[in-house]
Amino acid sequence: MTTDALLIELENVTRVYRMGDVHVHALRGVSFTVRQGEYIAIMGASGSGKSTLMNVIGLLDRPTGGSYRIRGTEVNQLSRGKLADLRNREFGFVFQQFNLLPRISARRQVELPLLYAGIAGRRSREMAEAALVQVGLADRIHHRPDELSGGEQQRVAIARALVNRPSVLLADEPTGALDSKTGAEILDLIEGLHAEGLTVILVTHDPRVAQRAQRLIILRDGQIISDEENGRKAVQWMLGDAHEDH
């Protein structure tokens, strides 16, 4: 696996929602590529299409037009079952609201993707526990969500995203529901995983989060208006932009 292998290719991707008679153009021709091992932040105001883009990349949503290839495979032609398999194998999801299942232990949460990967029994337990150790929750393996702090819950969610060794970690506002100190710890954890070779795509509206990424993509009205390596300049501009709004 070479580090600069092309992982994701989007070409003129559009996504149109029909809401009654109104057509909402969430994405209006988005093109970019992601190489193995990149750390990308996607920024934009709410309604800019960043969540839709995230869902399309994560195969939770299909593009209306354009082309989306994962490792050269055109996903538009894949069946629902194949898409489910790709989600399971290639992507790990982390959400703002953690999305843990109620009242089951951290280990069982982390075992969930393994259930659908057909991994069971001791192997599944060991993989889940290893993932929990990796995110620093060795002493929380048998705790249930209501016994964990917000930061710990997000760590469980990250362990769940990691456990099946995906190619890409897709994080949608992973620090949005956390205080700044805990949020920073979660970002440190994600960056540590990136340092070990994981491709990270992170959606945020927080410039301080975004500027830590190696590459910053800024969306506005469903289009990419900026895509640059080490996007500090763009962040400065966004910060200024945000000030003007207020």
């Binding site: 939770l60 398999d85 989600r87 999305n99 009242r103 659908y116």
Partner: protein, 414 residues
């Protein structure tokens, strides 16, 4: 293997939502318990009725006087007064009626019974010694009437259990005197409690020699010079001789009563076996009827399951979305929800069975009911099978709804 893992997921989910699971199961619990107890009550009642009928004597034919006709107008059953002691002797003739084991006449009337300061107005039965055998009566203390007492017109009386305690309380009445319409009678026996019901309840009756009843006690009317009787009880030697015996008795009585071919019988012959048959078919119908009511409640329970499962699908959109995001196929979600419905129904069914046994036990402890709820394995299989089936039928729709949920919408919902 997949099934076993999903079973674990289902159990986990049930354990995580105990209240919801309990509410879902409630319909099935009540449905299964209802089917089992209603069918059990039906069967218990049937067994009880059969046993009560059998307790009044098996292979028993009861002959009673029929309706007298005056100018083509029927005067109603029992008015004819045409059954006489002569008929009884004719039926007792073994050379003509070899299959009739016992032929027992009975002449009864209401009388005032008194012992000390206690009074009672009850039926006094004039019978012969074999009456106890024919009617399956057992003596609790003392003895029943004997043949020589009937011949000698002895003034002795045997009391039903309830009557004895009404007149004498806890005192042992054997050897004591009861006045019947003012005449003194010596108590020679008390019958065991039968637990009968209705106007012919043996527990409330007194038994005296028929010769005394027809003679000085009640002065029974005569027909062609013979004392009349209220009833003749005939015990036939075996069950399969019942019908032929009934025909022979009918022929003898018609001949003795000089009935022409175009005239109806002036007596009734009542067949205990056919009563039993009727009672059994009635209780079978009742059991089916009660079972059907129970089945309806099971159906309602199934719809309840569907309701709550549908609500829970909406409530669990986030969970379903997450499962899809981490790689669950449509089939995985379908299977999970279906297995959950089946597990809930099976649990509910088992709890329903336990509840039904509980109800049966409580029912059996109630003295007023007087019979047991009989839960048989076939109704167990039926009830559990039905609850699993309703889980399958009513679980499929919510499971399909869960499958069709859009994962993004599911994850977005707050």
């Amino acid at each position: 293997m997949k099934i076993i893992r999903y079973l674990q997921v289902a159990l986990e989910s049930i354990a995580a939502h105990k209240l919801r699971a309990m509410l879902t199961m409630l319909g099935i619990i009540i449905g299964v318990a209802a089917v089992l107890t209603t069918m059990g009550i039906g069967r218990g009642a049937a067994a009880n009725i059969t046993q009560r009928i059998e307790s009044q004597g098996t292979n028993l034919l009861t002959i009673s006087p029929g309706a007298r006709r005056e100018g083509g107008l029927s005067q109603g059953g029992g008015t004819a007064g045409t059954l006489t002691m002569g008929d009884v002797r004719a039926l007792q003739d073994k050379s003509v009626h070899p299959h009739l084991e016992f032929v027992v006449p009975s002449y009864s009337a209401n009388a005032r019974l008194a012992a000390g300061s206690q009074n009672a107005q009850e039926a006094v039965n004039g019978v012969t010694a074999e009456y106890a055998i024919v009617r399956n009566l057992t003596v609790a203390s003392g003895r029943f009437l004997e043949a020589n007492e009937v011949v000698q017109q002895a003034r002795v009386v045997v009391l039903g259990a309830q009557l004895a305690s009404d007149l004498f309380g806890n005192e042992n009445p054997i050897g004591l005197t009861v006045r019947i319409n003012g005449e003194p009678f010596r108590v020679i026996g008390v019958l065991k409690k039968v637990g009968g019901f209705g106007p012919n309840n043996p527990d409330r009756q007194a038994y005296v020699p028929i010769s005394v009843a027809q003679g000085r006690l009640f002065s029974a009317p005569r027909h062609r010079g013979e004392y009349t009787v209220n009833a003749i009880y005939v015990q036939v030697m075996s069950q399969d001789l019942m019908d032929s015996s009934q025909q022979q008795i009918e022929a003898t009585l018609r001949l003795r009563h000089n009935l022409r071919a175009d005239q109806d019988n002036d007596f009734w012959i009542f067949n205990q076996a056919s009563l039993l048959e009727t009672a059994q078919s009635i209780s079978q119908t009742m059991t089916i009827f009660l079972g059907a009511i129970g089945a309806v409640s099971l159906l309602v329970g199934g719809i309840g399951i569907m309701n709550i499962m549908l609500v829970s699908v909406t409530e669990r959109t986030r969970e379903i979305g997450l499962r899809k995001a981490v790689g669950a196929h449509d089939g995985d979600i379908l299977l999970q929800f279906l297995i959950e419905a089946l597990v809930l129904c099976l649990f509910g069914g088992v709890i329903g069975v336990i509840l039904a046994y509980g109800v049966a036990f409580v029912f059996g402890q109630m003295p007023a009911v007087g019979f047991k709820v009989v839960i048989q394995p076939d109704s167990l299989v039926l009830a559990l099978g039905f609850s699993l089936l309703s889980g399958l039928i009513f679980g499929i729709y919510p499971a399909m709804r869960a499958t069709q949920l859009d994962p993004i919408m599911a994850l977005r919902s707050e």
